[in-house]
Symmetry: C2
Subunit: 333 residues, 2 copies
């Protein structure tokens, strides 16, 4: 059993074919395959090919409807809505994208809300796509509840990330912030539980709301936010945008993203786009440069998203290493 | 020397007269007096009457121009700009407010950027004002640099708060998130330094970028963000909106908010308004109720902003207690 090295084109093709085989339409499978490519390109393996067998499983069990056709509407000049119809978020986002970008450019600010959706892969890539069009993107996506309010013990919101990307003035992003509201990724706790290892204090509470270092107890309990009440505030902001404003399911109502049970999670996304030209004109890019230089001029400090950029340079040259076990899971998915 | 009890009307009058005496126009003094009233009403004493002698000092030394006339413009349908002209932020926000709210209602989403500004008092009150009009408000304001990037030692952004308010469907706010990006308020470190007390680990770094428990060393160094890299990411988001997008001064370029030196700080604000009716219609309020009930149903958990609401109920009945020393500072300001 040896590892395979794939080019990014091959990664995208493999994902595309696998999802099509599991019942996804061309529109649905192409959108997710593209997202898989970007995740592998940036070294975010948890959202890359590793996820493809899970997507395939979710297509087969009806957690995601592979033949869904997203429906785009526009209630007001700056307000785009997309009903993902329980297909992949990626296809719904693609369906509304052109109208969304045109609305941001036309009105200076606009938002696109996606409902009856699913997870959207790497959130930062959607923000970055806005930056590639010269726009500032602030993106929110919600998830099944796993985080309790401070002082409580029952989860009410997910680890709910937000992402912000800033254009660099030449078709790329100058920086991408992409962060969840929790102190640590839930996948790290799952990994520790599998290995029978303890977790660190400050990561999670048990089901009674007490601090725990037991990974299994943490999974039965709740995730702790980063920075206490302030991290919870961030996650709550995301829930208000991505669920309440989009018309998607709240985290307390959504079925899990993992495993085949519970039907479609029906969560949501809410993306806000701002055209810097409409606000600070050419001054925007020089201000961003002064700000980012004040960070990168300090040894040891780096811009948010810098690790992904470094991975990207390397992986575009070297390709993507896929171990035989994963390749087998994908081929049989 | 006894304490005085003032009604909220008396608080507002006292602030109004004091600022007018220090050279503020009717427009400028009325806006700040209103903000002083709201801060005292909610028990946020640091931004209430205590600040009035500082505002008066800043009017007299030219850090704030008391006769400034804000200029409102609208580059696109959803993009409002206000040049505060180095007057108080409050007056600039008031000047653009009607256009801003009309744009949010008309387009579904809009933003108002304020430049050549100053601190805007309690940020949450501006977000709450949008909620009182039935709109979701997401507000950002930047401040002179006091927080270093993770891994660095030189401050590049302020403690940069954001605020989010959600309408309750009957002219008020269902919740108000209002949080700075730092682990602790800078005023707490100043207080400890005055008393000669130590500070907690995790609050600040010294000038060399090392953790410190010495309050004086912390003031010469930098504030630590809440939740490490994630808190810094939050503050950076605020800087991008409130400074780079508004065309205001970056935190690294702004003169201090405290003390008479350095001329106008020229910082900025960036407010985003969303009309929930344009996105999730009537479903919005029921979704928010299910979400907030999941929090308030848990003993020990509370909604963001709950303490202010409790203070408000009490202080509207009992009035505002002002000690003789503060009253003396105001009368002689």
């Amino acid at each position: 059993m040896t590892d395979t090295i794939l080019t990014l084109d091959q990664v995208e093709d493999l994902a595309h074919q696998t999802l099509a085989r599991a019942g996804a339409s061309e529109e649905q499978s192409a959108a997710v395959a593209r997202s898989t490519r970007l995740a592998e390109r940036d070294g975010i393996r948890s959202h890359g090919l590793m996820y493809v067998p899970i997507y395939a499983e979710h297509l087969r069990c009806g957690k995601v409807l592979g033949t869904a056709t997203p429906v785009v509407s526009r209630s007001r000049a700056s307000a785009i809505q997309v009903d993902a119809a329980h297909g992949f978020a990626h296809a719904a986002i693609d369906a509304g994208w052109q109208d969304f970008v045109a609305a941001v450019r036309g009105q200076g600010v606009a938002a696109m809300a996606v409902s009856r959706s699913y997870n959207c892969g790497v959130l930062g890539h959607h923000a970055e796509r806005l930056a590639e069009s010269g726009l500032v993107g602030l993106c929110h996506t919600n998830a099944p509840a796993s985080m309790a309010p401070i002082g409580g013990s029952r989860p009410v919101i997910g680890t709910n990330p937000f992402a912000l990307a800033v254009p660099d003035g030449s078709g790329g992003a100058r920086l991408v912030i992409d962060q969840s509201a929790s102190a640590i990724a839930k996948s790290e706790i799952i990994l520790r539980a599998r290995k029978g290892e303890v977790i660190e204090r400050g990561w999670a509470l048990d089901a009674d709301g007490h601090p725990t270092e037991d990974a299994e107890a943490a999974l039965a309990g709740s995730m702790l936010p980063a920075g206490g009440q302030k991290g919870f505030g961030m996650g709550l902001m995301v829930e208000i945008f991505a669920a309440a404003l989009s018309g998607g399911n709240l985290g307390i109502e959504a079925s899990p993203f993992s495993g085949p049970k519970g039907g479609p999670p029906g969560t949501g996304q809410f993306f806000i786009g701002v055209d810097p030209v409409a606000f600070s004109g050419d001054g925007f890019h020089t201000a961003i440069l002064r700000l980012t230089s004040a960070i990168t001029d300090q040894t040891g400090a780096r811009l948010p998203g810098a690790r992904r950029v470094a991975n990207r340079k390397r992986i575009e040259m070297e390709g993507v290493q896929v171990d035989a076990a994963l390749m087998d899971r994908i081929k049989t998915a």
